[in-house]
């Protein structure tokens, strides 16, 4: 998790006297901002669609697969083996054409790209090409929704824990700058160069293979316990290792970044002043250190929420966790463009919305910031 650590001067626009009324300024800002964000999303999605079908290359793979599958199934069907070769050939060609039409492969790629784009932008996610949800549906919406709880659970628990624990610990450390724990965190911060799945492998090795106390992977025992309590316990047991690896891989760097950030703010003159006045350290922290850092903390939190959506592809793969990240990876392996595009558009919309809303939130929490002010 990248922690945004900026000094206040960069991110704020100092209030200036303006002749425009607030309403005109804000509405003009809103329109321009929404327009640029929309264009950005459209361009991003169109690029993703282009890459996802590699300029038509994927079509050829899929056409080849359809031809193979239909030729084989008709060739092996005993009822059709009596047919004249010419009739059978015609039947094969017709079936192929029908299948290609079903998947939309008969439409030129350029037009199809725009169709994908307009469907994506209107959140009409459509039907998957090859994947099905566990309940048997081909609706992209249902496939993604089915996987969402698993990802939200794993990512939500680990990221929220990481977020709050690192802020609290960082505040604590910034108070005791230079003591043993502080130096330990500084020394351990390079451990975050290692990605979570890598810690995952070590976790599996220690807790699953050697100690045999926690499962290797999966989400619940098989068969799933019918009792609600047992189900929750089984879930907890399966979630411990992936969540722990996700937390561990960012833990020290996150604390280190927040700690350094808080330290920079606590060396400001007004903090020294507050301390000199004899304010209790809790008040100093709340009013003079946390308050000015609030915009940055909110930004980090907002991006954390967005990151929940994308899941952790590789960690989910290592732990066989049935989440969105792994679904996306499977979708790519099956050339399932609607799922890839569907997942990307939701991420893009969430990102755009967050970026848009953050400007207003800054204005709410920081009196120096004015929406659309120059």
């Amino acid at each position: 998790m990248a922690v945004v650590t900026q000094t206040p001067a960069e991110n704020t626009v100092v209030r200036k006297t303006s002749h425009n009324s607030t309403f005109v300024r804000v509405s003009r800002y809103v329109v321009v901002r929404l327009l640029t964000l929309f264009v950005t999303v459209v361009a991003g999605i169109y690029l993703t669609i282009m890459i996802a079908n590699m300029g038509g290359y994927v079509d050829q793979i899929m056409k080849g697969e359809i031809r193979d599958r239909i030729t084989q199934s008709i060739g092996l069907n005993p009822a059709m083996q009596q047919m004249q070769p010419a009739v059978r050939k015609k039947l094969i060609e017709e079936s192929i054409a029908q299948e290609e039409k079903r998947l939309g492969l008969d439409i030129p790629i350029a037009i199809r790209n725009f169709r994908y784009l307009s469907n994506a932008l209107t959140l009409n996610l459509g039907r998957a090409i090859n994947m099905t949800s566990d309940s048997g549906s081909k609706q992209v919406r249902l496939i993604l929704l089915e996987r969402l709880p698993a990802t939200l659970l794993l990512m939500g628990v680990s990221q929220l824990f990481l977020f709050f624990s690192s802020i609290l610990l960082a505040l604590n450390l910034s108070r005791r700058y230079g003591n043993f724990w502080d130096r330990a965190v500084v020394a351990l911060s390079p451990t975050s160069a290692v990605p979570p799945w890598f810690y995952g492998i070590f976790m599996i090795l220690i807790f699953a293979a050697l100690l045999k106390v926690l499962p290797f992977g999966g989400m619940v025992d098989s068969p799933p316990p019918s009792n609600r309590f047992d189900y929750a316990m089984s879930l907890l047991k399966h979630m411990t290792l992936p969540a722990l690896s996700l937390v561990l891989s960012s833990f020290f760097l996150s604390i280190y970044n927040y700690r350094t950030f808080f330290l920079i703010y606590s060396s400001e003159d007004y903090v020294e002043m507050a301390k000199a006045k004899g304010l209790p350290s809790r008040d100093v922290e709340r009013r003079y250190i946390l308050r000015p850092t609030l915009p940055n903390i909110i930004t980090n939190f907002a991006f954390l929420i967005i990151s929940l959506w994308s899941g952790a592809t590789i960690t989910e793969t290592v732990f066989l966790w049935p989440g969105l990240g792994r679904t996306l990876y499977h979708a790519i392996g099956l050339y399932d463009i609607p799922i890839i595009v569907g997942s990307t558009i939701i991420y893009a919309y969430m990102l755009a919305m967050t970026v848009f809303l953050l400007d207003f939130i800054y204005a709410l929490v920081d009196p120096r910031v004015k929406v659309g002010g120059r």
Partner: protein, 459 residues
């Protein structure tokens, strides 16, 4: 990630700070450790490239069963015996063609000859070997040579193994011989050969394989190779395909270094140059760069790499190129931009403009060099991310199809259930190397960051 204004104060300083800052590096223990790791890694990479040239590495990694037949499957490295009270048998292979197995030929009447070869070895381990195999080859025109093998145990028993006429090439596996199974009265031939027949326990001591052959033509000849698949192998062990893991472990170093360094160098330098050009020329160029950056942030980075790997090419160089392209236009470009905006207004740039320096000259000789102290820590710190990216993609089955890398070992191990089946060495070896590499660069990067960003040093 870190504050840019803090760093920009440094930029306003002098270029000599680069030199004096670098002299400070020895005061940071983590920097010294990091440098040591990087140095060792470079040494390993050079050693690997010299010791196992590219073509040889590819042959050893992708050669096929005839390259790997001498090695046992799933064998941990031999040094685990130092940590184990019970000793695992070590693998070896000897043959008459390279003289590691003594061969004596006695000519007989009418062009016939008898040949005998024997190999004596000390078996002082606590576990039975996996398998023993004889690779027999012979030259003849019409009359096939004949061969027989006998097994001599430490307690003086002599066991007949096989009597057979020879083809040009023949493989004899001890454990697969049905006749031997009936003769010994067990399906477990190899353990039986190393056991005390009364107690059924493993028997240590000197064992001998005795091979005698007879040829019936003047030019006829027999060669024998005895391959002993123990429980452990070499310094690194072997995988499911009998490949010596030493090859990918050594070769992983240059590949990881090249991928990590090229990606981080390419990304940081291109980011900086583009940010500098955008800031200097301003206008629509600047605007375009900002828009591209915003679009790039929307793109799903890992998904696009997976798509390129799945649909187009798994070559490490294609992935490297895509990685660099996708990593240029990130939030880093905005960070550089905000500093360049300040530097652009400084006095010395004003002076350069006044004497009529051309725009490219100002950008490349005056603007960019000022940023080098800022570039170095970021560059070093971003190496681990790229090294692990290669391993991550390999884990997803999108590793380079040709090159042996650390990530490929982990993928193979994972696909073969190494953790589940207890082949820990298989994952631990590449994982340790990856971890040491990542931590080495990260520690060096962190220390450099503190050296070059004085504000960080204070806190």
């Amino acid at each position: 990630m870190r504050s840019w204004t803090r760093a920009s104060k440094l930029v306003a300083g002098n270029m000599n700070t680069l030199k004096s800052s670098l002299q400070n590096i020895f005061y940071y223990p983590s920097a010294v450790v990091g440098m040591l790791v990087v140095f060792l890694l470079v040494f390993t990479a050079v050693y690997a490239l010299v010791k196992i040239p590219y073509n040889e590495a590819i042959r050893l990694w992708r050669g096929g069963e005839e390259v790997w037949y001498q090695n046992p499957k799933f064998a941990p490295p031999a040094w685990i015996n130092y940590f184990s009270a019970k000793k695992y048998s070590e693998s070896f292979a000897v043959g008459t063609s390279d003289g590691t197995m003594a061969k004596a030929v006695t000519p007989g009447p009418e062009g016939t000859s008898t040949m005998s070869a024997s190999y004596t070895f000390d078996f002082s381990y606590d576990y039975y070997p996996q398998e023993m195999i004889l690779y027999l080859s012979s030259r003849y025109k019409e009359k096939q040579p004949f061969i027989s093998a006998e097994w001599l145990t430490p307690d003086g028993r002599k066991i007949r193994i096989v009597n057979s006429a020879l083809n040009q090439k023949q493989t004899y596996r001890f454990s697969q011989d049905e006749k031997l199974k009936t003769r010994l009265g067990t399906d477990e031939v190899v353990p039986q050969l190393f056991s005390n027949p009364e107690t059924g326990n493993l028997m240590k001591g000197k064992y001998q394989l005795l091979i005698t052959g007879a040829t019936f033509e003047p030019e006829s000849d027999i060669d024998v190779e005895f391959v002993f698949h123990g429980q452990v192998y070499g310094l690194a062990g072997t995988d499911h395909a009998r490949r010596d893991l030493m090859v990918p472990l050594l070769w992983g170093a240059p590949v990881a270094l090249a991928f990590g360094l090229i990606a981080s160098l390419g990304t940081s330098i291109l980011t900086m140059v583009i940010a500098a050009l955008g800031t200097w020329y301003g206008g629509w160029i600047d605007e375009l760069i900002q828009r591209i950056t915003e679009i790039n942030i929307v793109l799903p980075f890992l998904s696009i790499l997976i798509m390129i790997g799945t649909f187009y090419s798994r070559s490490i160089w294609v992935i490297l190129g895509a990685t660099i392209l996708l990593s240029i236009f990130t939030s880093a470009i905005k960070g550089y931009r905000s500093i360049f905006v300040q530097v652009k207004e400084s006095m010395y740039i004003e002076a350069a403009r006044a004497y009529g320096a051309s725009s490219p000259r100002i950008v490349f000789l005056y603007l960019i060099p000022r940023m080098i102290p800022l570039l170095i820590p970021g560059l070093v710190s971003s190496v681990p991310a790229f090294v692990f990216l290669e391993a991550s993609l390999a884990l997803l089955g999108l590793g380079d199809p040709v090159l042996p890398t650390w990530g490929k070992i982990i993928e193979d191990a994972n696909a073969n259930g190494a953790l589940y089946r207890g082949y820990y060495y298989w994952i631990l070896e590449p994982a340790t190397l990856l971890m040491v590499t990542g931590l080495g660069f990260a520690m060096l990067g962190f220390a450099l960051d503190r050296i070059f960003n004085p504000k960080l040093r204070e806190v």
